[in-house]
């Protein structure tokens, strides 16, 4: 690839051909890459909703609601010659066309009895009974075509798929398609009763049946004696007492509202992928056993083992709330104390790969969330032309895993390093929070003082390296990191802490908790002002105590990708070459490290702040170096608006005209070194929150608008 202005000689063919720039990480100039990658996604959405309402008697009515939604997405992608995809396929463009169609149908039928008692009575009763179905049908099909002629533009390619011509003997990838249906059927009822409008009681009961759970009653093979796991039953009850309406409260005139709320309820969660209860064969995507050089018809098992026992996850929540209003509603206070327990957590759990599978959906464990939420809102100033109200809220939550079934703990992998065979970096353990980061603890780097320097005599190497006449061996008592490091231990290398004190650093026994993704508290405050015709609002939110696992740091403080640029913190690295370009430290074979005299080596590296970068994938192992505090305060939104005076606009028959300007993401104050402390880049599993890996930075948006009503 030659940039404009360069001539042929600047293209280093050897670099491209024999080496893989960046050690096969395929680093390409990002600007050129953007121009070579074409992506277009078209989404077409139709929504139809209707209802009919039938009044059977004065108190009894029936309502049926119907909805039909269609969402069609077409994704087009075209990778031109310099992209990685194209390079792997003869440096000719590659085309991908994917269609995803989701159709949703829902229907609910509800009977309502209201006001069963006479209007004069102190009692009031409402009853609601209903049934609902909800189903989705998701169809997907995809095609990939390789070997388009050089110079074909994306539009030409999509209009002319037949242009793709693979060389003889090579076939195009196979087409792929899939269709998934999910059905849900629910029955629900509610009873609400109030006495004297002071005491309110609501009872709910809900039964949900989902096709996401087994067994498959439509299967031609039959279900054997598998139990029916499709149904979940969720009752709830809540009680409220409007204390401020009581006679004894009328004396406290400054209290306008005092309401006590108490509730207990269960809710269900079935947000998993379909067919988790069975293990089915399917043809592999673009693969097959190559009998006689053609891909024969092949069926393979998926990476997920089915589990016929999965069922609804349920959340039991208990809540005590207090709503207070004072001073003619100028100050309101809301406090909620809650305790939520999630039972039968639905997790895509890792199972040992010796089973032939990597994952299985399981209802494993329970987790508990206890916390307090507090909200204060008040009108700070209320003058004729100036009005200011403020709102402050803060939430404290404590999360704990209380059971994991038969296991006491297991580890999870965020999967940021492309394969899931990098050591696991999150710990899921009874008694710990969710989102606990797990890795080696970094203790700086080895200095010359950690080594014994002895004279080094070896004919071959003394001749080759005449200035490196000292051998450095790790002092007795210092733990031996050979199990995790590729290079032999040397001055300037990263130093890990030996947690269990066995004299060796191993992934098995020296990984420990290095961070927590969940914050200690979060909240926000909102100010609104109006002055004459102007209105303004500022919204600030904050989070404290959340840690972020900055995987970008692991990738870019590492020299595995030869010729790849590194973060600027590596400018302070331990040097093995002095300012004049002479070698001062070297590892000539597997078990020897030699260098110049120890005092000279220390002097050269007196200002070193960080270790020599790793040159292997061992540098991607989870370690405390990557964990940073992500606490932040962010001015999230600022809006300024002006409403034109009534007398001017009414002349133009306009009832109101307002102009406004809004800025989103105004500023963030944080100690985090990455782009955005509010990041969650690996969301595939709920077990690994708080990872920042190539997360797109949050943009600042400026919006201007007009509100016009006639």
């Amino acid at each position: 690839m030659i940039l404009p202005g360069q001539n042929e000689d600047t293209y280093d063919q050897n670099l491209d051909v024999t080496l893989n720039p960046g050690n096969s990480l395929s680093l390409i100039n990002p600007l050129q890459l953007i121009n070579a990658e074409y992506r277009l996604r078209t989404i077409t959405v139709y929504n139809f909703n209707g209802y009919f309402d039938l009044g059977i008697t004065k108190k009894l009515s029936f309502r049926s609601t119907f909805g039909y939604d269609v969402n069609k997405t077409e994704s087009r992608a075209y990778d031109d010659t310099i992209t990685t995809n194209s390079k792997a396929l003869g440096k000719q463009p590659v085309l991908n066309l994917n269609n995803n169609d989701i159709t949703t149908i829902n229907n609910s039928n509800v009977f309502t009895y209201s006001n069963l008692f006479s209007p004069n009575s102190k009692h009031s009763l409402n009853i609601l009974v209903g049934q609902e179905i909800y189903q989705t049908n998701a169809k997907a099909n995809g095609l990939q075509l390789n070997y388009f002629p050089l110079g074909t533009t994306p539009d030409q390619a999509f209009a002319n798929l037949g242009l793709a011509s693979p060389p003889p003997g090579i076939s195009q990838p196979k087409l792929a398609s899939s269709e998934v249906n999910v059905h849900q059927f629910s029955l629900f009822s509610r009873l609400s009763y109030s006495f004297d409008r002071k005491y309110l009681l609501t009872l709910n009961f809900r039964a949900d049946g989902s096709s996401l759970f087994g067994p498959d009653y439509g299967s031609p093979v039959g279900t054997g004696n598998a139990s029916n796991n499709k149904w979940g039953y969720f009752p709830s009850a809540s009680f409220a007492w409007k204390i401020s309406d009581e006679v004894f409260m009328q004396k406290l005139s400054f209290v306008n509202l005092a309401k006590l709320r108490l509730s207990y309820g269960q809710a269900g969660n079935n947000r998993i992928n379909a067919y988790g209860y069975t293990t089915g064969y399917s043809p592999p995507a673009n693969a097959g056993y190559g009998l006689s050089d053609a891909l024969a018809y092949t069926l393979v098992l998926p990476n997920q083992l089915g589990n016929q026992d999965i069922t609804w996850e349920s959340l039991n929540s208990t809540n005590l709330g207090l709503d207070l209003a004072f001073f003619r509603n100028r100050l309101t206070v809301t406090a909620d104390f809650y305790s939520n327990t999630t039972k039968n957590l639905l997790l895509l759990n890792k199972i040992p790969p010796t089973s032939g599978y990597g994952l299985q959906l399981q209802n494993v464990g329970t987790a508990r969330n206890n916390g307090v939420e507090l909200q204060l809102a008040g009108v700070v100033m209320q003058k004729k032309r100036f009005y200011w109200n403020a709102n402050f809220n803060i939430a404290f939550n404590s999360n704990k895993i209380t059971s994991l079934g038969k296991q006491n703990k297991f580890t999870a992998n965020s999967g940021w390093f492309s394969t899931t065979t990098n050591p696991d970096d999150y710990l899921v353990q009874v008694g710990q929070q969710l989102g606990t980061m797990y890795g080696l603890k970094v203790d700086g780097f080895y200095t010359v003082n950690d080594f014994d320097a002895t004279n080094y005599v070896n004919a071959t190497n003394n001749a080759k390296y005449p200035t490196l006449l000292y051998q450095y061996t790790l002092k007795k008592g210092m733990p031996n990191p050979v199990a995790v490091l590729n290079d032999y231990v040397a001055p300037g290398q990263i130093k890990y802490r030996d947690i269990n004190g066995d004299g060796k650093i191993t992934l098995d026994s020296d990984r420990t908790v290095i961070g927590h993704a969940l914050p200690k508290f979060t909240g926000g405050f909102n100010q609104q002002f109006t002055f004459k015709g102007f209105d303004a609002s500022i919204y600030v939110n904050f989070s404290y105590g959340n840690d972020i696992y900055n995987a970008n740091k692991l990738e870019f403080a590492n020299q595995y990708g030869q010729d790849q640029n590194m973060l600027s913190i590596m400018n302070g690295r331990w040097r093995v070459i002095d300012a004049a370009g002479n070698l001062v430290q070297k590892q000539p074979d597997a078990t020897t490290v030699i260098g110049i005299a120890p005092d000279q080596l220390s002097a050269l590296n007196a200002n070193a702040t960080i270790w020599q970068p790793y040159k292997s994938t061992g540098g991607y192992a989870p370690m405390s170096f990557a964990v940073e505090d992500g606490s932040f305060i962010r001015i999230n939104n600022f809006t300024l608006g002006y409403t034109f005076p009534q007398q001017w606009t009414s002349r133009a028959k306009i009832s109101s005209l307002r102009l406004y300007v809004t800025v989103n993401n105004v500023a963030t104050i944080t100690g985090y070194s990455g782009y955005d402390p509010d990041v969650n880049a690996r969301r595939n599993t709920t077990l690994t929150p708080g990872v920042d890996y190539a997360a797109y930075p949050r943009g600042r948006t400026f919006i201007g608008g007009i509100n016009l009503s006639f």
């Binding site: 069975t278 089915g280 599978y357 590729n486």
Partner: protein
């Protein structure tokens, strides 16, 4: 209360609506048919789908993490023939070859998982196929097809477990589909138990499968495959391996296993119509394997992994290995110059296994120095049907590598099948087993070895060396013969391990390379038959430089010469500068190849006393090898994290 007719109508209407809707609440509504996945019981309801499921088991052997490149090439080195991975220890493949890998290496994790996924697919086939109605059908055609499928599944499972044990030692094993395994957190099972189970499986499998010539010929396993694999597994079961308790040990009753091996080989050798040596060693590679032929006429390829162009179905053999063609690619897997001197000068296999040059301008050879040598069985210029034209486009200079613009210089996959067991292996295994059992080679053993050596010498019996009559001498002869026959086929390292010779091989090879680097004479290796006498000569008789012609054809047309590219001999002192060695391939014949006497001479490469051998080869060969540790790879860390019962880790890691 009076019920008006309107009220009743309205009530009944709504009740009707609700009940109609409620009818859908039966279980069927909550069980929409899975369209994109198929239940196993349905898959095994007809032969075509059952065949597809067995293909799924086969597929686990192919691809990048299977025999596509990693198991066949990355994990199978270093040994005394090839240095894998290249110079260095940073990349994954370099760690694997030079024995510096740790449990966190990601390649081995993917291979481990892929093989177990294949075992699960095979377990499903083995469980369900006997339940198919075709299995016990009265229709002979259907029955034999179904039985063959079961035999194939048993053989694939055996091959996968065999490879797992070779690489990792004791591993978890279960013999039914995972859905029936009560606790998936399995412990490691002793390799002896697994081997015994596999030998029984294969004894059964060979009765289920037909001979090669009785069915359509392709890469699917046949009766011969099961027998050959049984012989090989028996030999490994009776060989040395690194035990959990530390130390290389073999079973006390290892001869029982050698007897099994000898019996299987004997049966195969009695059935020459099914499997026999391919007449020409070069033809086997150039006209069969590299020509993308699924099978060869003699049936020498008894067991192989088929590869074709698709995700995880393909192989990078030939792309990452082998020498450069027109300046493009390969150059992983350097062969040692000491391996060159294992062969005697009349052994045809030398020039097929070993390539001391690159191919330029499509057909011409350009010699390489002795620190830049590659394997040749899967060479890119022999690949046909389809062939792949490649060019780096480096047309500049007065000695360009190509005359054509850049083309296809990034193709990674050539769809070359990977041979697992050949008939030559059967003959040599027979000879070895017989030698061990009898304490000395019998006439049949010597005859079996002789067949292989005869083919290697082009059918000329006078060139075949004499076989020693004692046990130790014959054993060393076989150690050498296996190196000569199987260079670059991923066999050598595991042979050395089962003989408990890997540590010695690496250190003695390193010593010989260092001798070659400074110009001292080579020494014979202690564990092998002696090198040819003229390879051990005093340094003054070995060539310091090798000279090659500008336009010498890389593809040698004369069968017993090194090729038409070299102007002087590998076994004699190189000509002095100015001696008048003419380049006969350019016209008019004028240039003296020996001039100028400097490193800028484009017709000259350093051969003996080449100090680069040290920096390229001997500094890296077996860099991290530790006896009692490096004979096995570590269990991948990710697997130990997922299942603590896999502890303890292999010794030393």
């Amino acid at each position: 209360m009076r019920y008006t007719s309107l009220f009743l109508t309205r009530l009944s209407l709504s009740v009707l609506l609700v009940t109609t809707v409620c009818i859908c609440s039966c279980k069927k509504y909550l069980s929409p048919a899975p369209l994109s996945t198929i239940d196993p019981s349905v898959v095994f309801s007809n032969l075509a789908n059952a065949q597809a499921a067995v293909n799924g088991a086969y597929l686990a052997m192919a691809g990048d993490f299977g025999y596509g490149i990693r198991v066949s090439f990355y994990y199978a080195h270093d040994d005394d023939i090839i240095m894998g991975g290249g110079s260095g220890i940073a990349a994954g493949r370099q760690e694997e070859a030079h024995y510096t890998l740790t449990a966190g290496n990601t390649d081995i994790g993917s291979t481990f998982n892929q093989f177990y996924a294949g075992i699960e697919r095979a377990n499903n086939c083995i469980y369900y196929i006997p339940k198919m109605k075709e299995f016990s059908s009265s229709n002979a055609g259907e029955k034999s097809q179904a039985q063959r499928l079961l035999g194939e599944a048993l053989t694939v499972r055996a091959q996968l477990f065999f490879e797992l044990i070779r690489i990792w030692g004791d591993v978890p094993a279960h013999w039914v589909p995972s859905v029936f395994v009560p606790d998936l957190f399995e412990h490691r099972v002793s390799r002896d138990t697994i081997y015994a189970h596999l030998l029984d499986d294969l004894a059964y499998a060979k009765t289920l499968m037909p001979w090669r010539t009785a069915v359509t010929q392709d890469e699917r396993f046949t009766k011969g495959s099961a027998m050959a694999l049984r012989a090989k597994i028996a030999l490994f079961a009776g060989g040395y391996s690194l035990r959990q308790t530390g130390g290389m040990q073999r079973l006390a009753n290892y001869l029982d296993y050698y007897k099994i091996c000898r019996a299987e080989c004997d049966t195969l050798m009695q059935n020459r119509a099914q499997h026999n040596l391919y007449p020409s060693f070069k033809g086997l590679w150039k006209d069969v394997v590299d020509a993308h032929k699924a099978v060869d006429a003699s049936g020498e390829l008894i067991m192989q992994v088929a590869m074709a162009n698709g995700t995880q179905s393909d192989s990078k053999i030939g792309a990452q290995s082998g020498t450069k063609i027109n300046g493009v690619g390969g150059s992983l897997g350097n062969m040692y110059p000491t391996y060159f001197y294992y062969f005697d000068s009349t052994d045809l296999r030398r020039d097929i296994s070993f390539v001391p040059f690159e191919v330029v301008r499509d057909v011409y050879g350009r010699g390489h120095a002795s620190n830049s040598l590659y394997d040749g069985k899967f060479r890119r210029d022999w690949i046909t049907n389809p062939s792949y034209y490649q060019s780096s486009g480096a047309t500049t200079g007065n000695n360009p590598v190509t005359l054509t613009p850049v083309s296809n210089n990034n193709i990674q996959n050539f769809q070359l099948n990977w041979p697992l067991i050949r008939f030559a292996d059967i003959l040599l295994m027979y000879a070895e087993a017989d030698n061990e059992i009898n304490g000395a080679p019998s006439a049949a053993a010597i005859a079996a070895w002789k067949e292989v050596s005869l083919r290697g010498h082009g059918g000329n019996a006078a060139l075949v060396p004499t076989a020693p009559a004692d046990h130790d001498g014959f054993f060393k002869l076989l150690v050498k013969e296996r190196a000569l026959e199987f260079g670059g086929e991923g066999i050598r390292k595991f042979d050395l391990i089962r003989w408990n010779l890997l540590g010695n091989a690496l250190s003695e090879t390193k010593a010989n390379l260092n001798r070659m680097a400074v110009g001292s004479p080579l020494q014979s290796l202690s564990f092998m038959a002696d090198l040819p006498a003229y390879c051990l000569s005093d340094t003054n008789s070995m060539p310091k430089f090798m000279f090659f012609y500008q336009n010498g054809l890389a593809e040698n047309t004369v069968s017993n010469k090194t090729g038409a590219i070299w102007a002087n001999s590998f076994y004699k002192h190189s000509p002095n500068p100015g001696s008048g060695l003419k380049d006969t391939t350019i016209s008019p014949v004028n240039a003296d190849l020996t001039l100028p006497n400097t490193s800028s001479n484009i017709n000259r490469v350093a051969w003996y006393a080449n100090t680069n051998i040290t920096t390229t080869y001997s500094n890296w060969i077996g860099y991290g090898f530790v006896t009692g540790k490096s004979e096995l790879y570590p269990i991948p860390q990710a697997s130990i994290d997922a299942n603590g019962n896999l502890r303890p880790q292999n010794p030393g890691y």
